[in-house]
Each structure stands twice: as structure tokens, then as C-alpha cells.
Symmetry: D3
Subunit: 234 residues, 6 copies
């Protein structure tokens, strides 16, 4: 993922990206009921995925973490720099998907963020870390109570949305959107253009202009905007 | 809606209004699971309503907004100043009910607020707008994914509560309550009186007094309060 | 509950306590979907319990509060100083479990906090009170709409967790955990030790160290930590 | 509960009883999402109640049933003949509230039925027993997994409805309604009258008559019905 | 709606219709969690719609039914013969959408069926009526407890699906599908063809043939089927 | 899986198996809210698993089934005879997990059953097939609307329970239980013994005997049962 794409996607909102994807027939791209711990941070990076199934008491005890190949610990230590670790927790926030130490390690390794459709523990500490983290709600119990982490970098569901490894995952203060890798560049460019237009529209609206003919623009408005844009960025 | 009524209703809490309505047999007046984007703002005004049904792919595409009569856009451009636009989104927050540009237009038109039992998009921008907005949770996808806005100013349900056009809609940091228009003035007056009494009670409690005989007041307390009130407000 | 235990439990996170309890076979100790009104406050104390059943219109009218023996009012006026009042609201947040005046009374009486798996009303005022209060979501309607408070200090469920009178209830910015009284002291000591170790681990991780062999610690790491600890606290 | 009352209540539907109670201001009397295992059986009797809280692993193991005072077993062996055992399972059907052997014992002891807002296990066997049993859905796990039975004959909630010991519990193929004891006789008589009228209405409707003026009846219809009734039962 | 179309649509399954609609880009046409009272009946007819909002205690009392213009009663007495009455109950099954007498009237008037995303009361009697009726679950309380019927023949949502007056509503033992009027004839014809093919496939599968190349058919299978069909129906 | 084990497990109830597994510390083995289409059939066999993630519009179109390697079709054609195909549908019943033709193929191939935590389509036809099938509720839409079948024979979750390929899956009229392969034989034997004892208990209870000392048995009852068993089975 090149820096331009990353910069562009961090500049636009998840709402604008949803609309750009809707234009391409993709209707289900926003993770449902998944919220930022820090609404002031932006997140963007390719997905590395981690998949959980329900825990079973005989298999999921504290001893499992002694194994460095345990998928949760391995995912934390191998998620590439710049990537977002996305965890399929089956929407179950009754136990944590991860906590502050593991998320601190992701930060130290220059990963881009972490997402689960379950919950995180140590959320006050995660908030202080200043690392992009999205979840359903805080959840103090250790993951072993309900989750068995089972494999890494397979296609998963998260928040009701398909996430394929390498998909571009973008987060803002509103939530998280998944952009298929193959169309990420074109979607980013379109979203940049849409954002600029919408900034102009918002300014017009704040100045008292009606949305009629403005949003969406009729041909006259479109011409007006293009003229303005040309005069400004020309 | 006259200014006195508006001022009175903005002065009392939704909790106090719920109790005043409960005394009149109205038990279901508080919108369930509908939250303010900005807890520091107050909202009060008559309801203008907008109703949505589920979207259908062939009818709900981006082209529909070119029609200035599209109910969502028309509602935004015709909701009277001082009114609250209340949207029946069938409790579905999977797609947005509105976004920052439309809400900015409501603000520019001096409307009093916006409420949905779905979600808004562009919530970080809405937060900056400083306009009263209440919803279930942030939702970035465009409304067309799940909502078809169908008519304006019909009776609706929102958050499980009946909302008739013209009902007085009041919001505080806790949520939103619906006051039937015909009893709004008497309810406001009673709520003002209740609020004053409860402020006095809270001060007594903070000073260490038991709630026994105080809240609710026995005759002695009632007399004591009335004496205090007379001495203070004469 | 002695001061040392209280101090220790206020020092550790609910997440760490959950793990210490998990080691003892207790998997279901964290109240689900119960959140702090003020994430910056800590709470710790023995549970005094209050139980609600669904309201019935003929029994639950505003007149009931004239009775000083009404369980809700009695609980507020008799909950011992230092105790946490825990309310079983059957997970129903459609009406309030309590409001700011009653919670103000708990504060004046030096109680340690209040918890419900329903909602509180007057939440803006509760936030200003600075008293630890945990609930599902704000709920303005008076409790009589849906709750009939029925008895005090019986075993209850709250947030899906068993709460026995006298159990130690601990809250932080993440939520609430219930520690059985009989093991509270040993759990607290273990949690203190775990917390110290995890603080050291977090510092190592922030400095760039891998979690491999660190968390959980292998024998070498364990020795390293003990040496560090001896040099520091020795 | 005398035989006439029992016979009358077994003759009318839960729907008719709900309407008779609605006329008296009682709106919340039908257990929500609680279904008969055998839709062909009728049930009627005073409530004996059993209350459950969430299980805790150290307290709820198979050994507890060796204690004859264990509330679940004691309730089964002491529920009076003719009574309905109503279990507050907090709406949790993940583990059973009871199974075929205990329900067989209720049948042998001439109890009138059993109700839970959780689930029963051994439902195929319960179906063969031919004993009125109402629950949310089948649930094979033993109650100890999620339920701790805690006390008998206290007021409870079941299916979102208040149930006081001694309330009259009536079940048909549709579900279960709770009739406060004090008004059971008058409600039964009214319901009998309503049922007879509705049977006559249904026959009229089947014969092609409009519901206009018929249901509810206008004065002419009322007179017609009374004349018919007089001629028939005169 | 002509008889041929009705006969065709009654011959095919809702599953086949869903696939035919999916081919046309319509993904959300099957009412979610809406079930037949009698799985052995088929239903087909244009939709007449009835819309409910939440009840309000002062407006929704038994007296309202004395008004022959009350929307629920009017809908029952004016729904055209051959039509299906579809009720938007906002998915709320806590109170009934209709009962056996009103449904009996629909039957007497030769309507085609009734659908709600709430519940019906008097379900044992409705079962005996032998009239197609689809709902979420049985619900004995009168509609006034939670529903206010507000208007007729407006676009509605039911079971999460858009229903426009005149849309063709088809029900079988599985549930209910909504077919937009304009494409009903072509969808019916395609579904008939698909059903015949699937019957042939099912027979092949029962005889031991692999689904590979059969379902969906490769060119050879397609030719084989067409030859068989020609020999049979030719 | 040998025939004796299969015969034994088909002879005992899922309830008894749950208890035998609870004795071994396994509390979460019964699939929640998963129901038989035919309550009169029994099912037993090793699990072959199929995993779904949410669909994406560009990837999940009817054309995908032309690929014989499509996981859903491949699973149907390769699930070994005697095995139960268990589908992880993420609890999403909005679209089908499979339909009658594919399930007919499983039957023709002598598989033992099919389970999903979503829904099946063509349920009336599946009922006629007489093949064990368990799901949440009927769902007519094709799987492509919401499901993307992604891989075969990986560990999955189904109904909130972990299912590993090869685990023994047992179904009766109540639902489905998962027995870890390694302990299946010992659990089967214990369950057989428990079932025999419980049959004897049920007969005692039907004859009027108290459950006190009987269930669970005290030493005298245990001796009595063993004597009876010895006299009967020698």
C-alpha cells in the first residue's frame, strides 16, 4: 500500500467511502456496531485477519499462551507494519478479543490499528496508548472465556462485513469501512473529489444556500463548483 | 409554539417531563436507545415528521436525489424554523438517516433539531456543527442502502414512541421525550414547579438530609418548602 | 471490608481481577453491557442488593413512595456506608432504576457506588455528582413504568452475573466485576502482583520488546522480572 | 381456587382474558415469547413461584441436588396440587429450567402446569407426558450451567410480566396470561360473557355479516344478541 | 391480477421466487421471521396495506372501535377480494395485530390472506379457520396495548421488506415473498420454468446423480433436460 | 465412527449427553436456537464443517455455482457417508444455508444429517425428504444474498458452540449437541447408563414416588436400582 493511497484514504471520511463503494454496487462495507476507542484518531492499512471460534473449556486455558504459535500471540507478533489487525470475534463482546499489552505491541511494531466485532479489555489503558482501536464495547474478561483464536489471514466476517486479507481497512471517528484492495486506488481518488465538493457544499449551506440544485448538484451548480475549483486549485 | 413554552421546556429535564406525563397516564413517551451526539445541547420544538420504509434496489439509487421532491431533501428544505425533524427509521441504524450537509441546512434554516431511531453519518462533522441531533449510533452508509424516505408529516413511531406532527419534542443530555401538543403548556408549568422543588430537595440531600419524608415530601416538608419558596421568590 | 483490601482492589483493573477469578474457575464475573457514567472514577465495596420485578399498573403508582418502607427508598436510606448498591433491573433500561436525588443521598451517606443492569435518569446531574454509577444507558422514565422494587439483600442477577449480598463489587472505567467475598483478599493480592508485572511488561513492550517469552513470561523473563523487582522494591 | 373459577378460566381464551384485564388498566399480563409444548392442553391454577439467578461455577455443581432443600427440587416436591409452578429464568433459555422427570413428578402430584421464560429439556418426553408446560424453546443443558435456583414463593418476573404467588395463571394454545388473584372471579365471569358473545359474532361473520356495527356491537346488535341469547339460554 | 398469474404463483415456492428476484437485483424480498400459522396453505394476491405506529394511552382505548372509520376495522371491511392484507406492525409482537373474528371476516369477503410482522391473537381459532395467515408469533393482548392503526394503502415495511400497495404477495409453508407488481408476470413464468427444472433435478438427485454439472446445469445437462422436457411436454 | 458408538449415541437424548459432558467440565456443547425440521428423526455422525463469511455483491452471484470447486457444492459432494455437515452461518438466517436439492444429495450419498445456525430454504420439501436437518428458521432467499461459503473442514462455531472436524454431532427432537471425538465412547457409555437409570426413575415417579432420595439417588435408592437392574438384565 503506497503512501499516497494511505494519505488519501486518511483524508476522507468513512461516510464518503461508503458512498463511493455504493456507486460500485457494494452496499455492505461498514462494520456494524463497531466503535472507536478514540474518536480523534484515523486509521488506514491493509487487513491482516485473525479468526476466533467459541472457546471450549478443555482447550482454552491460560497455559495455551505459553505456545508462541498461539494464533492470537502470533498475529500480534507477525502482523506487518502498516497493517490493520482485524479480528472476527463473531460479534461476541462477552470476553475480550485483546488487551492493552498486545495492542501496545502492535503499536511498537508500527501496525496501523486493530479492529474487532467483540470487545477489548484494559480500554482505559488503550485510550492512553493513542493507537487506533475499534470494538463493540469494553470487555474485561480474558479472551479464553469465550474465544478460541484459530487461524490467521483467512477471509473473515467482522461486524457483518466480509474482510479478505489485504483489503484496505479505513477508520475514522464514525467507525470502520472495508475497501476491496483491487478498487482501493480508484475509490480513494473519487472519494477525495467527493470530499472536496462536499466541503464546498457545506460552506455554501452554512452561508444559507438551499440544498435544492446544490446537493446533488444540477448542471449549473456543477459548473459553478468547477469554476471555483479551477480558480482555487487551477 | 410560543417563546415562554419553549423556554420553560428547555429549562426542565426529560426525566421530569416523563414524570409529569406519567401522572397523566402516558407511560411511553421517552425514545428508547436514542442518544445525543452532543450531550451539552438542549432541544425543543414541534415535530415535523419524515417516514422511511425499507429500501428496494431498483427504486433507491443515487439518482433519486436529483428530484427536489424527494421526501428526505424536501423535508430538510421545508421543515419550519423552530421545528424538530423526527425521522422514523424503523430502528434500523445499518444505514444513515441523514448526514452533516443536510443537518447543516436544517441549522441554517433555524430549525430546532433532528432525531432518528436509526443513525447519522458524518457524526464528527455533526458534532462540530453544534446542532441538536439524536440517533441510535453512528452509521456511515448512505440512507439508500436500507431506507426509502416515503412521506412527510404523517404520524410515525420513533424509538418505540408515537410522534404526531406538532407534538412537542424535547431533548437534553439524556435523550428525547415527546409531549402531546394539547397538554404541553400545562406539562411545562408542572415540570417547572417540580424542577424547582427537586433542586431544593437535591440541596437538602447534599447537606445530609434523609429522603424519608423529603422525597416525596410529607405535609411538613411541603410546608417547609413552600415557606422557603415564599421567602425566596416572594 | 478493611481499608487495605479496598485500597488494593481500587488499584487493580477489572480486567486483571477477571483473570485472577478465571484462574479459580470463575468465568462469569464481569457485568455485561453495564457502563460507567464517569469513566474516571473507581468503585469498590461490598454489595447491598435491591431486586426489581416488572411493574403492574395497579400496584406501581407515584403514591407508593409515600411509604418509607418502599424497597427502593429504604435501600437508599439503609445501604451501609462503604457499600455498593447493586440493582437487579432484569436488564430492562426502558425505565430508570434510580435518579440523581436518590444517588445524591447514597453519596451523602458515604456509600461506595451504585450499579444497575437497567438505566439511570438525570444522568447529566449524576455525572456532576461525581459518584460512581454504572448502568446500561440513560433512561428518563420513572422506575414505576416498568419496575417494581421488591426486596433488599437477597441474591440477585445483574448484567448476567450472580451477585450475593456481601460480594465485593469493583468498578473502573471499563465496567464492574463481582468478587466472591470469601476469596476477595487472596484475589486482591494476586491481582496486585499481576498488575505490577503487567506494568513492567507494558514498559518493556513500549520499549520495543516482543511479547514472545515475555507475556506470558518464560523462566528467563520471570527471573529477569524478579531481579528487577528485587532491585526496585527489595 | 374453587372448581367453578377453574372451569370458567379453562373455558375462555388467553386473548379474551387479556382484553378483560386491559379494561381494568392492566396492559402487561401476557408472558412474552413463552410457548406451549402441547398446544392442545389447557392450564389453570394459582402460581407457586421459583426464582433463579445466574449460576456461579463454584456453587452450582451436580452435588447440590443431593440436598433435598435445593430450591428446584423442593419446589417440585412442595408445589401444591392444582397449582402452576412458574419459574423466573431471567428469559435465559441457554440452559434448562427443568426436565421430564421433575415435570413428571409435578404431574403425579396433580399440579396444574409449569411455566418458565427459559427452556425445558427432554421436551420430546414432556410432550408425551401430556402435562401443560410452557417455555421459550427446548434447551438440553442442565440448569446448573446457567441457573442457580434461589427461592420459592416470592414475587417474580416471567416473560416480562409480574407474577405474585397466588396469582391465577391461565394457559391455552396461544400462551400464558397472569390474572391477579383479587379480580380473578370477576374477570372470569366477564370473560365467559365476552366469549359467548364472540362465538355468536364469529358465527355471524362466517355467515357473511360485516363487522360494522357488529364488533364492537352497536345498540341494535347488542339488543339482537341479547334476544338471541334469551331465546337460547333463557 | 389475472387467474393465470395467481395460479402460477401459487404453484411455485417462495424460495424459487426469491431466486428469480435475486437475478433481477432484488435481494431483500423475503419477510424475515414471519411464519405461517398453517404451513399447508398457499397464499397469493395483491397487497392492501395497513400501517401501525406505537399506541398512546389516551388515544388507544377500546372505545375507538366504535368508529367504523377506525383504520383496522375499515381495512378489514374494505380489503378487496383476492387481496392480501399486509400490516406493518414495526416487528412488535407484544400485542396482536388482529384476531380470529377480523380474520374470519377477511375470509368471508374472499380475501387471499393476512400478513403481519407482529403477532395474531386467537391463533388456535385462526388455525381452524383455514385462512392463510402469517405472523411472528402468537400474541394474546389486544392491539391497543402497543399498536395504533393509522392508515391504509400507503407503502410500508413488513418483516424488513418494502411493500407497496398492489405488490404481489406470495406465501407458502416457508414464509412470504413480495414481488413488485410490474415484474410479477415475467417472474412467475421464469419461476415456473425453474420449478420444473428443479423438480427434474430433485428426481435425478434422488436417483443418485451428483450435483456436479447438474445443479446448476452444464450445457450437456441443459440439453438433456430440454430433450426430456420436449419428450414429456412436447 | 463404529456402529456401536453410533447406535449408542442415537439411543440417548441430547439432554443426557449434555449432563455427561457437564460432568467433564464442558458447559457449552448444545447449539443455541437451532431446531429440527423433523422432530421425529435422530441424527449422529462425525462433523464435516463448512464455513461462511458475509457475502459481497461482486463476488457472490449465481455464476459462482458453475465452479464445481465452489465450497458449498463441493462440501455437498464430498461430505463422507455417515458424516453430518455442519455449517457456520454466523447465526444469520436472513438467507438460506442450503436447500432441498443439495440436502437431497446429502441423503442420496448416505450422509447422516445437516446442521446450520442460519436457515434452510425449501423447508416443506426438506420435511418430506425425511433427512435430519437442523436450523434456526426457514429462509427462502438464496445463500448468495448474505453468505459466502469459504472453506471446508476447518474448526468453526455453530449456534455459539465450537465444532472441530471429526467431533461427534448428535441430534434429537430437542436439538443438537457436539461431543468431542476423543471422549465420545466414554460419554456414550455413561449416557447409556444414565438413560437406563432415568427411565427407571421416570417409571417410579409416574407411579407416585417422590424425587427426594430418588433423583439424584441416595445410597438406598442406588442399591435398589442396582438390584432391579441385576434382576432384569442379569
Amino acid at each position: 500500500m503506497d503512501d499516497t493511497l494511505r494519505r488519501q484514504l486518511c483524508e476522507v471520511s468513512t461516510a464518503t467511502l461508503c458512498t463511493a463503494l455504493f456507486k460500485r454496487g457494494l452496499r455492505n462495507v461498514f462494520l456494524q456496531d463497531v466503535h472507536p476507542i478514540r474518536a480523534d484518531l484515523r486509521m488506514c492499512g491493509p487487513a491482516t485477519t485473525l479468526r476466533a471460534i467459541p472457546a471450549r473449556e478443555d482447550l482454552d486455558h491460560l497455559g495455551v499462551f505459553a505456545d508462541p504459535e498461539h494464533p492470537q500471540r502470533k498475529a500480534i507478533d507477525t502482523c506487518p507494519a502498516g497493517h490493520v489487525l482485524v479480528i472476527d470475534s463473531r460479534g461476541d463482546a462477552r470476553a475480550a478479543s485483546a488487551g492493552d499489552i498486545l495492542i501496545g505491541r502492535l503499536k511498537a511494531r508500527a501496525c496501523a490499528g486493530i479492529v474487532t466485532d467483540g470487545g477489548f479489555r484494559d480500554t482505559p489503558a488503550i485510550e492512553r496508548l493513542g493507537f487506533p482501536a475499534y470494538h463493540r464495547r469494553p470487555s474485561a474478561p480474558t479472551n479464553l472465556v469465550h474465544h478460541h483464536m484459530v487461524d490467521i489471514d483467512v477471509p473473515i466476517g467482522c461486524g457483518g462485513v466480509a474482510v479478505y486479507p489485504g483489503d484496505i481497512v479505513v477508520g475514522d471517528g464514525e467507525g470502520v469501512v472495508v475497501v476491496p484492495r483491487a478498487i482501493a486506488a480508484e475509490v480513494a481518488q473519487e472519494a477525495i473529489a467527493m470530499s472536496r465538493f462536499e466541503d464546498w457544499v457545506a460552506a455554501q449551506v452554512a452561508a444559507g444556500r438551499s440544498i435544492r440544485g446544490l446537493y446533488p448538484p444540477d448542471p449549473a451548480t456543477r459548473a459553478e463548483y468547477e469554476a471555483w475549483q479551477a480558480s482555487r486549485f487551477g
